[in-house]
Symmetry: C2
Subunit: 143 residues, 2 copies
DNA sequence: AATGCAATTGCAAATCGTTTGCAATAACTG
DNA sequence: CAGTTATTGCAAACGATTTGCAATTGCATT
């Protein structure tokens, strides 16, 4: 059997633990997710999944994403304008820089910013449940 | 005449400078915006405007918001889930903390974070066009 | 103040991304 | 292998926003 040992087995257990069935469409979608290094939107996931199993529908993609999100297995990002994009939740936390010209997404992480956010929230009398930090920028020509 | 000297006159000049006509519906909408201390969405602006001039339509609210946004006179924020919310652009830059329970919005500003963002963008080879920093939190009970 | 014309309007219909009702189908249980 | 129950695809519904269009209005000109 040519099974890759990516984390799609993990996804299956996540779903199973949540009392959900491992169906053929779900298997396909989970495969795609486990492989994906990028931030595909629902339609893109649908296209990729559909290429392997023509019976997968867009609704099922949405439903599966919702299930995985509820389980905390994936993150959903709604960047400016476009549709929601997804990524695996197992990677360490990071924020995003979006190229306004190309739509390209670069991940980054700043301990300092994380700490400052906590600090600000505390001063305002809140504790952070989650946050959203997106830098929309343009590649600098100027050296 | 009981005219308040808020910034709705400014809005009018902004539009006029952009070569747009000052119509009755626009006047009403601008009034609302100039008064508003909060972050109303299009529907809310429509409701308030409609209360003063029953002929104002939702489409016109959207169109006017778009015009003002294009002129840079207002900011448009699409917070998690809900519809876009607007606020005057004349206030100094700030970010938002959203109460996940009440939807309440608190503004804050951190020079440090602003600087760090610039720094990060530079390291990634970008310059920031704009950013989005939203903290979603809950009021802390624990003293 | 009356005229003309382009900008603006309200309305309804269209759009986009996403969700949902439903009857048919497929997973897991025993 | 059968029975229950979750899951499916489809199409229709959804909420926020945009748009085409014919009627109206602002405003520069007379």
């Amino acid at each position: 059997m040519s099974e890759q040992d990516t984390s799609d087995r993990d996804y299956e257990s996540v779903l199973r633990d949540a009392g959900m069935r491992i169906t053929k469409p779900r298997k396909t979608i989970l495969e795609i997710l486990a492989e994906g290094e990028d931030h595909p939107d629902a339609l893109e996931i649908f296209r990729r999944a559909n290429a392997r199993d023509a019976s997968v529908s867009l609704s099922t993609v949405y439903r599966t994403m919702k299930a995985l999100h509820d389980c905390g297995a994936i993150h959903r990002h709604a960047f400016e304008g476009g549709p929601a994009r997804f990524e695996q939740a197992d990677a360490p936390h990071h924020d995003h820089m979006i190229d306004v010209d190309t739509g390209e997404i670069v991940e980054f992480r700043s301990e300092k910013i994380e700490r400052l956010q906590e600090e600000i929230a505390r001063e305002l009398g809140y504790h952070i449940v989650y946050h959203r930090l997106e830098l929309y920028g343009r590649k600098r020509k100027t050296r």
